[in-house]
């Protein structure tokens, strides 16, 4: 693993990567799977209920034509799947010893990177409600800044939000101790 792209300071290391739970991506995958199956079901339906519909004069083999069109459809879904995966995978928070680097990959060509120093953090709240989130340990995390122009950063459906909040608080405490130690 190489974090060169994050432009970390000297001696700064990534402690934790925070990503959305895999269930989010499984949801996308299932939608695409259904879309991939629909043409097959239509073909079966036509074969059973309207077999004459496929007796259309074509210069070539009708089955090959249908296979060609179906392959293009699957290729389209294949590309869509990887676009979704890229958005899911690159939407990430990196927690280092000094800050949180927030990468918000909204669309494939819409990327926002923010830095949040621990001394600017006022509160970290987590929201975990519902049966499935509790069962699979995922929820939303919101970090609020203490500056005048108070901002909040949120990442939804992350794995083990309590653990992440603990890591953020422990790093925040360590940073404030280091800061007060330097001042004494």
């Amino acid at each position: 693993m190489s974090y060169d792209g994050l432009h970390l300071e000297l001696g700064e290391n990534v402690i934790q990567e925070v990503r959305k739970h895999w269930i989010v991506f499984v949801g996308h995958g299932l939608v695409l799977l259904v879309l991939a199956i629909i043409p097959l079901l239509l073909r079966i339906g036509v074969n059973i209920f309207m077999p004459g519909m496929l007796n259309i004069p074509t210069p070539g083999n009708m089955n090959s034509l249908l296979l060609f069109l179906y392959t293009l459809w699957i290729l389209f879904l294949w590309i869509w799947f990887f676009i979704n995966w890229t958005k899911y995978y690159l939407d990430v928070w990196y927690v280092t010893e000094k800050r949180i680097i927030i990468v918000n990959q909204k669309q494939i060509f819409d990327r926002e990177v923010s830095n949040l120093r621990f001394d600017k953090i006022q509160d970290v709240t987590l929201d975990m409600h519902g049966f499935i989130p509790t069962l699979l340990h995922f929820g939303d995390i919101r970090v609020q800044t203490a500056s005048e122009d108070s901002k909040s950063f949120q990442i939804n459906t992350v794995r083990h939000p309590e653990k992440i909040r603990r890591v953020i608080f422990s790093q925040q405490n360590r940073n404030s101790h280091n800061f007060s130690g330097e001042n004494e």
Partner: protein, 82 residues
Amino acid sequence: MINTDTILPFSINFNLLSYIDSGVLTIILGLFFVVYLIVSVALYYHWSKYGMSHPGVILAQSVFALGSVILFTVAVLSINYY
């Protein structure tokens, strides 16, 4: 058996199929390939620039390339057998 010519108002459009030969299909596949190339370049750019050489990204690159090769091969073969 149901006579689709009498119940489907769009059945007249099926005559268009008689103009679809392997040349037309090759052009369609070629256009699709150009779009695929543009999207692939964008994806590979994101994976290499922001993926941090993560094992998951390397796996995704391989699966994407392998799946694409298989699907384009099937498309070319279906044109050949048309």
